[in-house]
């Protein structure tokens, strides 16, 4: 009911629009229009793009990116950014992979792993917890320094990314034989991440459709993040501090505490993302995760999480990530050359940031 009423109200609003309104509408939704055009072009070139397989691939390729976008999204809401995301995720990937190799695999990171022989549940949980803890600690340090010393997060997280790469490479190169890509992951671990749901109860999916576990994990994380952002004191404080730190401090919000918590949450999500990504890719090395921050930050901004702080929605991050994945997937699908892929991607990011600033100018 509510939906139909909303919908007819919208239709009415459309009818009443004059030329400037239309122009505004076009500009405000330009990003979606560009994306729709792009998808249209891909479909024209390759009609097979419209398939169940595309849907499943796009959703599963988006899953980890979404989890990472939620992490950095919180930091962007605090008027920040996180350039250490990629290395952090890379570290989590290397940690998870090194602790999850099959004990039958020939070249293991730990020839004698103490986890061998433990129940599956423990074998999965311990690497996940260690990855999350390590990322959370480094991210909390970022948060502390940003909050207490009032240094711009750009430079703090830039420094942290360099530091993390050093620590990560030290760990990666530590085995006797030197740093080798860590593959041969255990079947329990791979199945936990690459598994799929073929049926729900008596209902069996047909037409090649299935739900990858990764999508389920991303959905669960989305719900948790939605509740945290919208229904908790933590979320309210985050938006208050992000919108206006001075006002938030005056009204009794613990600003430093909020910073540290938001960064810690980002770290936990990077840890989880890295744990899942290593399983998704099937191996990890010290350049894993490189540049992941760019996609995550771009997706957030395209999804309307504003760099000026205090504004952002879970659905926005979801839209941003999906649009980016559809775009890169579609361009490779349609065999568009590498150079044009970069031009189009770059154009959309610049465009989105320009629009973002425009919305902000209107607000003040």
């Amino acid at each position: 009911m509510n939906f139909t009423r909303n919908f007819s109200a919208r239709i009415n609003r459309f009818k009443k629009m004059n030329r400037t309104d239309w122009l505004n509408f076009l500009v405000n939704n330009a990003i979606y229009i560009v994306m729709a055009l792009l998808i249209g072009i891909v479909i024209l070139r390759e009609p097979t793009f419209l398939s169940v397989r595309t849907l499943i691939n796009v959703l599963s390729q988006s899953s980890v990116k979404l989890i990472l976008a939620f992490g950095v999204g919180g930091i962007i809401i605090l008027q920040g950014t996180d350039l250490s995301l990629g290395r952090s995720v890379g570290f989590a990937m290397v940690i998870s992979a090194s602790l999850s190799q099959a004990d039958t695999y020939a070249s293991r990171f730990y020839p004698e792993l103490w986890l061998t022989g433990m129940p599956t549940f423990i074998k999965l949980l311990i690497p996940l917890l260690i990855a999350m803890a390590v990322c959370a600690i480094f991210s909390m340090i970022n948060g502390y320094i940003v909050a207490i010393f009032k240094v711009h997060p750009f430079i703090v997280t830039l420094g942290m990314s360099v530091l993390l790469y050093g620590v990560l490479t030290l760990y990666y190169n530590s085995p006797e034989q030197g740093g080798q890509p860590i593959g041969g992951l255990s079947t329990e671990y791979s199945n936990f991440i690459l598994g799929r749901i073929d049926s729900i109860g008596p209902l069996k999916f047909t037409g090649g459709f299935y739900i990858p576990y990764l999508v389920v994990y991303a959905a669960i994380v989305s719900i948790i993040v939605w509740v945290l952002w919208n229904k908790t004191v933590f979320g309210k404080n985050m938006f208050a501090v992000g919108g206006n730190p001075e006002a938030a401090a005056v009204s009794g919000v613990n600003v430093v505490g909020t910073f540290v918590l938001v960064y810690m949450m980002a770290g936990i999500l990077y840890g989880l993302g890295g744990f899942l990504e290593a399983g998704r890719i099937g191996s990890a090395n010290n350049s894993s995760g490189f540049n992941y921050e760019l996609d995550a930050i771009a997706a957030c901004v395209v999804g309307g999480i504003s760099f000026s702080g205090g504004v952002g929605k879970v659905s926005g991050a979801l839209a941003g990530v999906l649009l980016f994945t559809v775009m890169s997937y579609g361009m490779i699908f349609a065999n568009i050359s590498f150079e044009y892929q970069n031009i189009i991607k770059g154009f959309i990011i610049v465009f989105a940031v320009a629009l973002d600033t425009r919305k902000y100018l209107k607000k003040t």
Binding site: I148, Q180, E277, I281, G282, S287
Partner: protein, 343 residues
């Protein structure tokens, strides 16, 4: 409070730096017997490169230890300007030999000039100077590496032989090879040469080919290989008959994507990393080409020792120098028949 924190931070950092550097005195040192210890100033163009960081770098250290020389290896982070600064520092430290892995093969002359001015012998390795006449600028510069084209030729020959032996690989029976190719960094001499020569092998054998898709990846990355292969499996499906990868890392991603979809298409890489040998053992990969990092490292150390002792660079070794003062360590085909020899 804030000041106290800053002071403590600075103190921790100073202590950390002192702690880290205490065991790594650099520059020319003298051991207890009074004989001069040879010091090599070396770099790896990027520690993020699986092959250079995982194979060549440990081998350099191992052979240097065995020969009783000291080697300092730094990370140039894939930036040529960083490498230039690092060479200045090495020269300032007074190292005996420079062993340099160029970031940008077109920037060799700058490095050669620096070495020449300081009169320090220079051994370039793994990435060959592309400038005409650069190697002739200085009498004490040599190169250790491979012939870039060889990896592509060997990979191509391997694929042609397997293709001829397996009639059912031609799934649609049109006599043509429908392939996809994961290229690596555009403009990289290895990426370009491997792409050209691996496909050329089919032409030379008179087998027609059809390129379904080819995508570069500046990072040669496993995740890029995975996502691209997943996309191609959706867009071309059964039409893909062969997956050519210009390094093993991207091949690992492609294998992972195929496993996820439950398909198996012949796939070939280059580098012969341990993981590749394991994939071959499991029947998931059809071949790779050993980029013989260990012997490249050995040649670097052998040449350094000779030069530092004032001998001819290849004296007493099995290496030979070609007309551009280069030692070419051969590539080796690694197949399901012989992979166990490389473990």
């Amino acid at each position: 409070m804030k000041k106290l924190l800053s002071v403590m931070l600075v103190l921790t950092m100073v202590l950390a730096i002192v702690g880290c550097s205490s065991d790594k005195g650099s520059g020319t040192t003298t051991d207890q017997q009074g004989t001069k210890e040879i010091v090599i100033g070396a770099n790896i163009y990027n520690f993020g490169d699986n092959f250079m960081n995982g194979v060549v770098s440990p081998a350099l250290k191992e052979y240097a230890d065995a020969a009783g020389v000291k080697i300092n290896i730094v990370d140039s982070e894939n930036q040529q300007n960083k490498l230039n600064d690092q060479v200045d520092i090495f020269i300032g430290q007074g190292v005996d030999i420079l062993a340099i892995n160029l970031v940008d093969p077109a920037s060799a002359s700058t490095i050669i000039q620096k070495a020449k001015e300081a009169n320090i012998p220079l051994i370039l390795f793994n990435k060959e100077a592309t400038e005409e006449g650069a190697m002739a600028m200085y009498d004490k510069v040599w190169y250790v590496g491979t012939a870039s084209a060889d990896a592509g030729i060997i990979q191509g020959d391997m694929m042609v032989a397997d293709w001829k032996a397996n009639a059912k690989w031609d799934k649609n029976g049109d006599g043509k090879v429908q392939y996809v190719l994961l290229k690596g960094e555009p403009g990289h001499p290895d990426a370009e040469a491997r792409t050209e020569y691996s496909v050329k092998a089919f032409d030379d054998a008179g087998i027609p080919v059809e390129e379904l898709a080819m995508q570069p990846d500046p990072n040669w990355s496993t995740d890029g290989g995975n996502d691209k292969m997943a996309t191609w499996l959706a867009s071309f499906g059964d039409r893909i008959e062969l997956v050519i990868c210009n390094n093993d890392g991207m091949a690992f991603g492609a294998i992972n994507a195929m496993k996820e979809q439950g398909v198996s298409i012949p796939v070939y890489g280059v580098d012969a990393l341990e993981q590749a040998l394991n994939h071959i053992a499991d029947g998931e990969m059809n071949g790779t080409v050993l980029n013989d990092g260990k012997n490249q490292a050995k040649a670097v150390i052998d040449l350094s020792l000779n030069v530092a002792n004032g001998k001819d660079p290849i004296e007493g070794t099995s290496w030979t120098l070609d007309d551009v003062k280069a030692v070419r360590v051969p590539y080796v085909a690694v197949t399901p028949d012989n992979f166990a020899d490389f473990k």
